[in-house]
């Protein structure tokens, strides 16, 4: 299941001062530049907002929505535009629209939370290791190598088996995929920042290591991790689909897009829409996240 995390950009340190305009731009001028955001931000932002709104708020607002898991078997496999079921029903008679909405919620939750965990744990690990350097860094990085080296399949199996399948455990399992990535990213960024003059200056100003890490390094590493994590959400959702395929995904009571896709693949020759519809949603979301990530990256100058 080769789910590729998106490109970890080719970190060439973008020097914020390299923008020739920055040297001469004055305060208000820059502010106005910030306001003039391009469509690179607004369009994906809006679509994403709508998706999130639909997934999270719609089921609350519109209570008559059929349940995503309690459909009637008598209404199985209805074609799209059937009365009451805009996109039809799945082989168990569940309304596809409401499964999409719920699935989006679960997928986004899995994607976002596993990212947050990877970002927090991996990020702080990498940051701390790189900042302290020496044997601590060596040991941490070797440990992370270990995490990469041993088959994640075993790990995911253990997590999802031993802890029984649940959304939370899937989240944990997927987080393990992202922790080394985030740690490496954070480490690289920190190594660059560590040599930054302002870090040296802070130390000369008498600042403690902890404070430097927390107040100088972290705020500057975070944007990079954040833009990257936007791209990683996509990978996390796709990994969840693969886990579902192997039977280690979220439980059936909480359908996700990934689960819909992996369930739908059995029907791909006769009912391709079962795969296509959730795939399209996933695609749209991922495109929006990517575009948003790219736009943010371009704006913050993060690599």
């Amino acid at each position: 299941m080769a789910v590729q995390p998106p490109d970890l950009a080719t970190a060439r340190g973008a020097d914020p001062a390299a923008d020739p305009l920055d040297a001469t731009a004055t305060g208000p001028a820059r502010a106005s530049r910030r306001r003039g955001t391009g469509k690179g931000l607004w369009i994906p932002g809006t679509i994403l907002g709508l998706i999130v709104l639909a997934c999270f708020a719609w089921p609350l607002v519109y209570r008559d929505l059929p349940s995503p898991t309690a459909g009637s078997l008598l209404a199985a496999n209805l074609p799209p535009f059937s009365p009451g079921h805009l996109l039809g029903t799945d082989p168990l008679g569940n309304d596809i629209v409401s499964r999409l909405l719920h699935g989006g919620r679960v997928s986004l939750e899995v994607g976002l939370t596993s990212n947050a965990i990877g970002l927090l744990l991996g990020g702080s690990l990498g940051m701390f290791a790189a900042f302290r350097g020496g044997w601590l860094e060596t040991v941490t990085m070797r440990l992370l190598d270990m995490l990469i080296a041993f088959p994640s399949l075993v790990l995911v199996l253990v997590v999802s088996t031993y802890l029984t399948p649940s959304k939370l455990n899937v989240i944990w399992a997927i987080s393990f995929f992202s922790i080394p990535t985030f740690a490496r990213l954070a480490r690289a960024a920190t190594l660059r920042l560590r040599e930054q003059v302002y870090v040296v200056a802070a130390r000369l100003a008498g600042q403690r290591d902890g404070a430097i890490l927390l107040r100088h390094i972290a705020p500057n590493v975070l944007p990079q991790l954040l833009t990257y994590s936007l791209l990683w959400v996509a990978a996390a959702i796709a990994i969840e689909a693969s886990l579902s395929f192997l039977g280690f995904g979220v439980p059936a009571s909480e359908p996700s897009w990934g689960m819909m896709i992996s369930r739908g693949q059995a029907y791909i020759s006769s009912n391709p829409e079962l795969v296509l519809i959730p795939s399209a949603c996933l695609f749209l979301t991922i495109v929006c996240l990517n575009t948003l990530g790219d736009a943010l990256r371009a704006r913050t100058g993060a690599p």
């Binding site: 020739p20 305009l21 040297a23 001469t24 001028a29 106005s32 530049r33």
Partner: protein
């Protein structure tokens, strides 16, 4: 040297007095996310064969943009208007193919940071032969021989061995020599050196400048030296053009310019330059303020807000660059007089 490098006579104009490069009313604007940046706002310059023109001015005054406009190397966001004639050829609006034929053959360029200007993963020999073979129908071996000659010409020790080395194996000064060899590979009539020595040590700088002037003389090239450094300009250039906020504000032969500064901005630059003649701890005469916002096109003189001599007129009317004394052009309504020569009292 076995074969003499032949100047590419075809590109030289028949009339030796005709300028090599003529820039007229050059305007360059950049589209940025929210505004147009008017980086160059009507520059006029001429360079003759065998002449060295120094372009100086503070950071952001448009020196680099002007030179890149000549080379057609501006990013896609730039719009170029006006006229740049290289010999007979109009460079503005030139198609990519013709432009490529010009670059390296009729005009060469060297940049500020020799460490970054050379491709780190290519042997310098290959980078050099590439420059030759793009324009001249030479076999690999001929090109290679010529490349070694070029390396010898820029006084790189052991040129045949260096041919096979990578940029990181050379010192900064040597890299800049290689850059010069690359720029001169096809004997261009005009060489633009954009802060070519800023990143180098003083001793290396002196060597590189020596080399440049020597080669310029030998091949009767036109040389444009772009720099911040008044000292460099004064030491090596025949003519100096001072730029401010996208315009040339004063231009004259070097000696005349230093001796008879007219433009208050030039005066300020000269005064602010530290020099050996000054005693320690003597305060430098400075002007306050900063260059104007290039996104705004003001009607008046761009320097007026910082100028001690400015008057009402300067706010509303822009002085044109005109030849007000023989071979000395400036753009100011209230020029400085000849009195306060810098450092004269100390000498």
């Amino acid at each position: 040297m076995t074969t003499q490098i032949q100047p590419d006579t075809a590109t030289r104009t028949a009339d030796p007095d005709a300028p090599l490069l003529t820039i007229e009313n050059l305007e360059v604007t950049f589209r940025t996310r929210d505004a147009l940046v008017h980086a160059v706002r009507g520059v006029d310059l001429t360079v003759h064969a065998g002449q060295t023109l120094a372009v100086i001015g503070e950071s952001g005054s448009g020196k680099t943009v002007t030179s890149r406009a000549v080379m057609g190397l501006l990013p896609r966001t730039a719009t170029v208007r006006g006229s740049i004639r290289l010999g007979e050829r109009q460079m503005v609006g030139l198609g990519e193919k013709e432009l490529r034929r010009c670059l390296g053959r009729e005009v060469g360029m060297i940049f500020q940071d020799p460490a970054r200007s050379l491709n780190p993963t290519m042997r310098i020999g290959n980078q050099l032969t590439e420059a030759i073979r793009v324009h001249l129908p030479m076999s690999r071996r001929q090109a290679r021989e010529r490349a070694v000659e070029l390396l010898a010409m820029v006084r790189l020790p052991a040129p045949a061995r260096r041919f096979h080395e990578y940029p990181h194996q050379l010192s900064g000064g040597m890299r800049q020599r290689v850059m010069i060899a690359i720029a001169l590979a096809c004997q261009p009539g005009l060489l633009i050196a954009d802060e070519a020595t800023t990143a180098l040590d003083v001793t290396t700088q002196a060597q590189i400048m020596d080399l440049l002037l020597d080669l310029q003389q030998r091949f009767a090239m036109g040389l444009v030296l772009i720099s911040h450094d008044m000292g460099l300009a004064a030491s090596y250039a025949d003519q100096v053009a001072v730029m401010y906020a996208g315009r040339v504000v004063e231009r004259a032969p070097t000696r005349r310019m230093i001796a008879h500064v007219r433009m208050p901005y030039t005066r300020a630059l000269l005064d602010a330059t530290p020099r050996l003649e000054r005693p320690p701890h003597a305060p430098l005469p400075v002007i306050s303020g900063r260059p104007p916002d290039l996104r705004v096109l003001d009607p008046g003189c761009a320097f007026a807000p910082r100028c001690s001599r400015s008057q009402d007129r300067c706010q509303h009317e822009r002085p044109e660059l005109t030849e007000r004394e023989p071979r000395h052009e400036w753009a100011c309504f209230f020029p400085c007089a000849d009195d306060s020569l810098p450092g004269e009292d100390e000498r």
